[in-house]
């Protein structure tokens, strides 16, 4: 029960989330100051990136738990977990993207945009991540307006 289903679970979870995902609404409030962090009401995620590839098991596990937290609206925890993963794999473009998503849902559009831009600089040829970042940046920009 422990090892096999995990791999199945990750894409499954992502698919489920992707199915629920809608385009974000126009925001009602300006982005809060980045620090210290405040727990915001979750906004719907703009889109989901397919599950990560080639992560170490440590990072894959953290990413799973961050997604669980995100789905449950525990955004502060999700962000903390993603930061923890980034300390292990600072050059993982998908982690930066996931963190950008969480910031977006927290209403911190400025950080969402910066983090997505950071993700882009590390994405190399990963066109999925690149386009997901671009959409997120566009959404964050229109949300800030």
């Amino acid at each position: 029960m422990k090892r096999f289903p995990k791999r199945v679970l990750t894409p499954f979870l992502a698919l489920t989330l992707a199915a629920c995902a809608t385009q974000p609404e126009q925001p009602r409030e300006p982005a809060p100051a980045p620090a210290p962090e405040a727990q915001q009401l979750p906004a719907p995620p703009p889109e989901r990136v397919p599950p990560p590839r080639a992560e170490t098991t440590a990072v894959a596990g953290l990413m799973d738990s961050a997604r669980t937290d995100t789905a449950a609206g525990r955004l502060t925890n999700a962000a903390a977990t993603l930061e923890r993963a980034l300390r292990i794999e600072p050059r993982n473009a998908r982690l930066w993207h996931e963190l950008a998503l969480v910031r977006f849902r927290q209403g911190d559009y400025a950080q969402a945009e910066s983090l997505a831009a950071r993700s882009n600089t590390l994405a190399g040829n990963d066109s999925d991540v690149r386009s997901a970042n671009q959409r997120l940046i566009d959404d964050a920009r229109s949300a800030r307006r």
Partner: protein, 774 residues
Amino acid sequence: MARRTKLRKFLRFALLATLLAAAGFTLYLDIRVRDEFEGRRFALPARIYARPLELHVGLRMPQADVVDELKLLGYRDIPRPGEPGWYLREENRLEIALRPFVFWDGAQPARSVSVAFEGGKVSMLRDAAGTDVPLARVEPLAIGGIYPAGNEDRVLVRLTEVPQHLVHALVAVEDRSFYRHAGFDVRGLARAARSLFTDRVQGGSTITQQLVKNFFLTPERTIRRKATELVMAVLLEIHYDKNEILETYLNEIYFGQDRDRAIHGVGLAAQFYFGKDVQYLSVAESALLVAMIRGPAHYDPYKHPARTLERRNLVLRETREQGQISLEQYAAARGSPLGVARKSMGTSPYPAFLKLVHRQLRRDYDEKDLRSEGLRIFTTLDPRAQGAAENALTKRLAQFDKEKRFGQPGLEGAVVITDPQSGEVQAMVGGRDVRYSGYNRALDAGRPVGSLLKPAIYLTALSEPSRYTLLTPIDDGPFLWKSRGAPDWEPLNYDKKFHGMVPLRLALAHSYNAAAARLGTDLGIEKVLANVRKLGVERDVRPFASSMLGAVDMSPFEVAQMYQTIASGGFRAPLRSIREVTTQDGKPLQRYPLAIEQAFPPEPIYLLAAAMQDVVREGTGQSLKSYLPPEVTVAGKTGTTDEQRDAWFAGFSGDRLAVVWVGYDDNRAARLSGSAAALPIWGDLMSALSPEPLALARPPSIEMVSIDPQSGLRGGVSCPGAVELPFMQGSAPQERAPCSGPMDAAVEAAGEVGKAVGQGVERAKSWLERLFGR
């Protein structure tokens, strides 16, 4: 008769008055006792923790360094069945019995893991059942506190956590009739009364009286104070039950000094003297703590082991006589050594870092709360990086002092290490006396930075790819700058020579002043200084040409902030020392999240970092080669100021950024250049940390082109010493060098095709991976 009546009346009145006064006083004491005892919450210091070590497969940390960290945490190197906090080392493996810990995001129970190492990395991580585990978090090192008055430190414990044998020993030795008396003991009182006249220090106080004495009263010995103590003890007994009194006593009692820190309570004493939580104290260890209560300085297990052992055995004997331990327990405990494993740290072993944490905390918290609420502060300090920085700095400064024979006061220095991606501060050394909590040079010493500012000039140039590439010739001829309101400025080179036209990257690598000054003034001083600000320098920089060449005072911390922006590909992240804050019982209060801001597009930063790698490859920093293996690429910059008063080195690998400053506090000429004094410290500390090579992500619009260094034109394998250099697409020279043959052109063309094919393969791969959920 009338006189007798009068006298009687007077006596009656006097008696009444005395009774009333006594009653009033008692009432006053009663209010005080209840008020203070009930309202009394021990002032608990904010407790500050280092980052927790996260073990996972692939972690770049050799076994010896993991063992060092476990030792710092007070882990013993022999198994202790049934109790966590030990490790077992077997060749390239470690068995670790991890202690439980309440982290920011929840409690983690005690667990055992098995770790294997290979080539300086963790190669396997399993739990006790032999199952692979992705991640194991070791509890963080406590690195100090922000203490209440008197630097009183304690760890609160519940009576239920304290082993019974400790309580039995305490009662047997300090107050045998504790569970029966009403706050005082008649025989004890008699002894105390005698001692008032004989001037001999006598115990005789009950546990309740001792508590009253510590809690409410001054230590003088007068009849009045003794009487007050007595009344208060009785009042305490009336209001509270024995267990409440005992629990408070166990948390209050003093167990000696750790330098400037006062150890209070059995909870902290257990950790401080035995490196374990109180519930794990053995019979012998408990007896030792009880033995110390009478006089922690007199019965100091380190300074007076024989005397202390004797008293411990006396405690054991009395406990045995009271029938509270079995004969076997007694015999075993009596035969065991003192067993203390004290790790001394005073208020903090890392005062410079603590100062940074304290400063960042004060923005959000009251000083009073920090000193009393027992907040738990989780910081970014990496004890391994801190240790490497301290060792490198102290060792090298001692060596330079010896060579210089300048006498006292000696050279000083400071180090800051950060994580370039997140801006987390991993280490900070504020001076050569690393335990000294005074002047923190890493934070507060503003010193001229010299050439450390030059990257801002070159970054400004490389931001205009149509005008400047890494190969653009820069004139390093004599240079004179006249401007109104400032004296003429004629920067000279370090070697007192001029070098004519030099390629941009080498002008930076060799830190030529005339070239940099000319380039900077050509670009515009304001433009360059604007980029200095964008890099993260917040202090005002005067708009003079000389500012660009480092006539600006900055602290090592500020330099680290500036270089962080370069190291992270143009994203500025405020340097942070705190991750999370929780209440005393682990409830999260606040997070200090990772925050970044794109200050520069990735392309010019990539080009600049390439030039800064040339500093280390062939420029002023090339002696670093003897510190790091060739595959570990790093980028950096040396800095030396007028008359060599300040020596700097700032640079970064893939995973760490470090800034080193060396100089004299009184600004004397140190006669040491950045590469002679600061670079060796940087090299020492980096090599101790098995750094990851610098591998900046290459932006898609940057292409790598082989260049013949002689002609500065397109080269290839046929050109000796050809170097691969990055260019903005379309900005590389088109012409081929004379040495370049037809083969090279063919290879280049094939490379283009290969790249396209590679991208196709990459796409197919990621599609497959997605299909299979990897």
